[in-house]
């Protein structure tokens, strides 16, 4: 656990980890953001919480009772 290591060892681990992270390959947000947007648009048709669902198809619709209109 973190508590068992000395401050120096913890810092060494942190430095090693940071060195690795600096080298991580990265992509521009204009590209990745677009991919997120594209994913949403592609799946939006299946997203029932987004589109709403007609009462008669909703498995959680109110049970029984009468509708007074």
């Amino acid at each position: 656990m973190a508590q068992e290591l000395s401050e120096k060892e913890l810092l060494k681990m942190e430095v090693e980890q940071l060195k690795k992270e600096v080298k991580t390959p990265r992509t521009l947000i204009s590209k990745t953001g677009k991919e997120i947007k594209d994913y949403v648009e592609a799946e939006a048709g299946n997203d029932l919480l987004l589109k709403g669902i007609p009462e008669d198809k909703n498995p959680f619709k109110e049970k029984g009772g009468c509708a007074i209109s």
Binding site: I29, G33, D47, L48, L49, G52
Partner: protein, 395 residues
């Protein structure tokens, strides 16, 4: 004169080199030793090196952090909401409580859906774990844990077992049986052992492996059958409060969030942390992968939810409002990833437009903190659990 100090000359064997010399007292880690003058000199200069190394490591770490920020900033050419400018704004949402599950005797702390999209397992502060049929609100199974504060529970992918744990520092698996004569507690299998409370657990793609997160600062992967530790994940500087597995198509990673304000992404096979994000200002209570696996959201005590893009390696969106001052305890995405549902400590659930960064709806109903929230596997509804002892299914 009166204030002369006398050096007491003690002769003996030096504690370091064991040679017979004049000794002087020396303090090492608050323990008193007797060193000869030679070894005392060496120790003094070593100490100096020790401090130098510590200081140089600290400045190296700071320097690397700065470099990391720089590298990340290079990819920040545009904001997410700018990319989504042309996307149609969302209309009004009408989401109501369709079912209220009553039966827990105390705060509901965690819940999970079964893959059959109708069963739910929930756990509570009173030690009870209940399996419900959310369509009928009937309780199908109930087990009492030997500890209170069951902070984590999960449904097995097969639907034939549940896992739970909390202050007992363990994660136990209970096979679900429909035989009325069988006592569920009798078949309990202790799988994970941590040195502090269990905060989160999740089955991987099968019933055979469980991933756990603990107050002891680590996450771990366990084999259910043997209880063997397969991999452990060290790196958080404080309690780990939450975890989420990447959607199976995107590979073997998971994300965890902790009291050290960090969200860390791990490679399950090597145990290495591949990315870390430290932009929250307080404990991260909940993390959830975006449905495509390319991003994840987090909810924190700093009253914000944030979206982190894994390929751009940075935070790309913050979901917050000045009027929201209570921590977000739990977050989940709708099926398409357009909506982010977040449960808060001010008893409300806020629904955010992930792309535009704005709030589209606020849901009232719970009478105490919302502690847990999950969207159903097919996205038709979501369930929230609260300290008001109930669970609500919204659609």
């Amino acid at each position: 004169m009166c204030d002369q100090t006398f050096l007491v000359n003690v002769f003996g064997s030096c504690d370091k080199c064991f040679k017979q010399r004049a000794l002087r007292p020396v303090f090492k880690k608050s323990q008193q030793l007797s060193y000869c003058s030679m070894c005392a000199e060496i120790m003094a200069t070593d100490g100096l090196h020790e401090n130098q190394t510590l200081a140089s490591l600290k400045s190296e770490a700071e320097c690397l952090k700065g470099k990391l920020e720089e590298e990340r900033a290079k990819l920040h050419d545009v904001e997410l909401h700018q990319v989504a400018e042309r996307v149609e704004a969302l209309g009004q949402f009408v989401m109501k409580t369709r079912r209220t599950l009553k039966g827990h005797g105390n705060k509901v702390l965690c819940m999970d859906w079964c893959k059959d999209k109708r069963r739910i397992v929930s756990s509570s502060q009173d030690g009870k774990v209940i399996v419900w049929d959310s369509f009928t609100t009937n309780k199908e199974h109930a087990v009492t844990m030997p500890c209170t504060w069951v902070m984590a529970c999960a449904y097995a992918p097969s639907g034939c077992a549940i896992a739970c744990g909390g202050l007992d520092n363990k994660c136990s698996v209970y096979p679900l049986t429909f035989d009325k004569n069988e006592n569920m507690a009798a078949k309990k299998k202790s799988v994970a052992m941590h040195t502090n409370y269990l905060s989160a657990c999740s089955f991987t793609n099968s019933d055979m492996q469980i991933l756990t997160a603990s107050g002891d600062g680590t996450c771990a992967l366990w084999d259910v059958e043997s209880g063997q530790l397969l991999q452990s994940f060290h790196g958080h500087g404080a309690d780990v409060l939450c975890l989420d597995l990447a959607p199976s198509e995107t590979g073997n990673t998971f994300v965890s969030g902790g009291c050290d304000k960090k969200a860390m992404v791990w490679d399950m096979r090597s145990g290495q942390c591949v990315q870390a994000f430290e932009t929250h200002e307080s404990d991260i209570n909940s993390v959830r992968y975006y449905p495509s696996g390319d991003a994840f959201a987090s909810g924190s005590d700093d009253a914000t939810c944030r979206l982190y893009d894994l390929r751009a390696d940075r935070e790309v969106s913050i979901y917050s409002k000045e009027s929201i001052i209570f921590g977000a305890s739990s977050v989940d995405f709708s099926l398409s990833g357009r909506l982010l549902f977040a449960g808060y400590n001010d008893y409300t659930i806020n629904v955010w437009d992930v792309l535009k960064g704005s709030r589209v709806s606020i849901l009232f109903g719970h009478e105490n903190r919302v502690s847990t929230l999950r969207v159903s596997p097919d996205g038709t509804a979501f369930c929230s659990g609260s300290w008001d002892h109930t669970l609500r299914v919204w659609a």
